[in-house]
Structures are given as C-alpha cells and as structure tokens.
Amino acid sequence: MHDLTKRLNAFLFPQESDRWLTLFRIGLALQVVFYTLSSRADWNEIFSEKGYTLVNRGLNEALLSGEGVWVPRLGWLVDLGHGFGWSEVVVLRGSWVILLSAGLCLLAGVLTRPAAITAWFLHLSAVKSEEFLSYGMDNFTTIGLFYLMLCPLPDRLSADWRLGKRPWQSSEVRGFFRRVLQMHVCLIYFFGGFTKCMGVGWWNGDSLWRALNSPPYDLISSQTLASWSFLLPAAGMAVCLLETAYPLLIWIKRTRLPCLMAICGMHVGIALVMGLHLFSSIMIILNLAAFGPDFSFSWPNRLTEFRKRTA
C-alpha cells in the first residue's frame, strides 16, 4: 500500500519546470486573441438578444436554460449591465474588449491568474450563448483555459514574475496539472480515433473525400482531390490508427517525438487544407504543452538544472 502510494505520488506529482506552463499560457493567450479578433465583425449581431443574422442569443440561451441554469452565458452580463443602465450593445462590445484584453494580459503575463479566469469566463459565456454555432475548437479552448486558471501561475517568463510575484503552489502541483493535461489529451485522441475506426468511411477513404469536399472546408478543388484519391484510404487509416494509438505512442520514449510530430503535422494539414486554423492551433497548443520538447521521464536531471537556474 505504501509502495502504491509512493508510485502514485511519483506519477501524479512529478517535479516539473514551468517551461510547459509558459508555452501553455502564451499559446492560449494567442488563441483567445485570434478567436476574439476573428469574431469581431459578427460579435454584436450574434450575441444580440434579437439579432437575426443567424440564430440569436435569446433562443440559444432559452434552450441553454432548459438544460442547465448554472451554465455561464452573456445574458448574465447583459442583465447585470442593465442594473447599471448600460445597454446590451455596450455590454456586448465591452465583453469583447475585456476578452481581448484578457488575452493580451495573458500574452504578456500581466495579472496572469485574473486574466486567465476572465478569459475562461467570457470565452465560456460567449460559447454557451451561441451553442448552435460552437464546435470542438470552442470546447478545447474552454478545457485549456480551465486548466490554465488552476495552474500554478505566474511562470518565469511572465511580467508578473519579473514584478516579484511567485506561485503559491509547489512545482509538484505544476507537474500534477501537466499530468492532468497529458491524460486528457490522450483521452481526446483515443476516443476520437476509436469512434472514427467504427466508421467504414475512414477505412476506404470516403470520409476524407467527403470532408475535403464539404463546403466550407473544400479549399482543394475536387478535380485535384480526385486525381490523388488513391491516397485517401491510406490517409484515412493513418488518421484512425494515429489517433487511437496516440496514448500508447506518446508515452513510449522512442515513439514520442515521431508521434508528436505526426499529430502536429496532421493538425497543420487540417489548417492548410480545410481552413480550420483555430481548431488546429488549439490542438497543437494542447499537444506541445502536454508533451512538448522538455517532456521527459528523466526529470530529476532537468529538475536539478531548473533549481540551479532559479536559485
């Protein structure tokens, strides 16, 4: 029992440097900034209670309330703003500005924890207020921001650190959160890959053909794709196998780097070929933060180096 506890402690609470946390913070900061900038043109129209460009906030939030009344939404902020005499437009534009500012603060490492909490809350509220328009990228950003706001902040490359602020949690807690992120990323790929494996279309190339031809992901012409279609079954199988085997390949030291490069390459490909830039970027950020270059099981040496540097 004692031995088991010891091993559990070693596995879940490894001593970690904060390099992964710096990468995680900066990556998520850029993700929040680009998400905010990319939705600037439609922000007020989508989130207006009576906007009619697509499905408006009023309908989205009414349906959300049917599911769960405690889930954050922009309607809460709009109602709060009404108490101060602010119009819906002012609150919505203000929330956009604050979300962008939170992203920029995270990028610089200024007020990192309040910025992480603000970014998580506002991003989540926006995503939930447009549930019909949200997709995997939004969920992965929420996952990342949720972990970031709980992580031991600030990291050494943040402005907060230079101003003398130090995390109140230990380096073991930093290691714990990285382990949580690693396990979560493994589950994401395993279930994603396993569900793909159940579809015949992923084995004969039909799913890839259809995905690459479906607007608005059809950046490559159908003629070009058709001339290369003999590669689609192999590519479909490779995606299935890589994702399903990811938890195994990423933990084995010899296969870790090839696996990481392959999965990041796959996401770069998705960004270039299908135009899903924000989806690809969040997946690459989660991968690099979880299993990035400084990830190694030979941590004691690295820890010693880290302690020497920070002493």
Partner: protein
Amino acid sequence: MMGRTKWIYVAGLITHFVLIILVTSRQTLSVFLQNKTAGPGPLMPRVAELEHVETMALGGDLPTSNLWRRAVVAYTNGTGINTGYGFFAPTVAIPRKLVFEIRYASGEVEYELPRVGDKATGLRLVLLLEAIANTDNVLLRKTMLKMMAFSVWQRHREAEAIRVVFGTVMWPSASEFRRGKRAEYDVLFAYDFRFSADVSPLNR
C-alpha cells in the same frame, strides 16, 4: 509523501476523469446504437443498457430542476467536457444547403444564400445547418429558419414572402466523380414566411 492537500487533488482528478469518461464513452456507445457503424449486432442490448447507466450517472434521467443534474451540467460545460470527441466520426456529416427564395408581388423571384460578416462565422454556419437538420423538434427548426429568413427580409423589405429551402448535397464518391457524376441537391423541407415592418418574426 502524499499529504492531505495531494489527496484532495487526487479526488478532484478522479471525479474529473470519471465525468470525462462517462461523457465520451456515452457518445461512443450512442454511435453504436445509431447503427452508423459496423458495430457488433448481438451486443446492442448490452450497449443500450450501458449507455442508459451512463446517462443515469450523469443525471440525464432526472428532472432539469434536480440539483445533481444541474451541478453535473454546470461542471461539464464549465470545464469543456460536456461533449465527446467524435468529430467527423464515425462518418463525415452530409453537407447541408440553405437557399432563400425571395418572392415579390410582381412574380419576380430572387435567390440568396445565408450571409455572415466574417470567415470564422462562415465555418460556424455549417454547424448551425447541421443542428437544424438534426433537430427533431419541428417548432424549434421552424423558429431557427424563421430567424434567418427575417435577416434576409430586412434587406428585401418589399418582398412578399421568403421561402426557405433546406436540403442536402449528395456528393458522389471519388470513383463516381471521376466517371463524371456531380453533386446533387435534395430538398429536405421548405417553409414560407411572410413578414411585416411592425411585427417581430417570433410573434407571428
């Protein structure tokens, strides 16, 4: 060694990952049940049972006012673990198409596609169309389409009616495409909406 604080972290981790596994495996099991896969037929009753147990554990069978259900929904949504990870799986969804027919009193008809302000929202439009196609609630579907039709009417206020035609794009396989077959458009449903300047679209 493991102090009390560390055990609290471990308890949180176990709770968090049990929820992740419940949510994701329930989605995977529902894929089996929807017959979208080459899944094992004789196992179906067991799979259905297991999916039901998982739904119960997540409070899915409880009334929406139930505290456990509310807490689970709030936590899973707040942490981003409320859905599974089966994107483009087990198959890629059939592309949907929405066309607005703008009809004038003179008999003239114009056609328009949904418009959005930026490319990022354009990507999201696909998801909205998929949600509209998948909803079983006819009233909800009609309301969503009416909202979109209203945005079109606002740019064409002299129109007598807006007909919303929703369909699927049947894309040929790669081999069919090479033989010259091209995409076909199948209409799933269509609605006619009439608007006037003084009435909100949802009150009509």
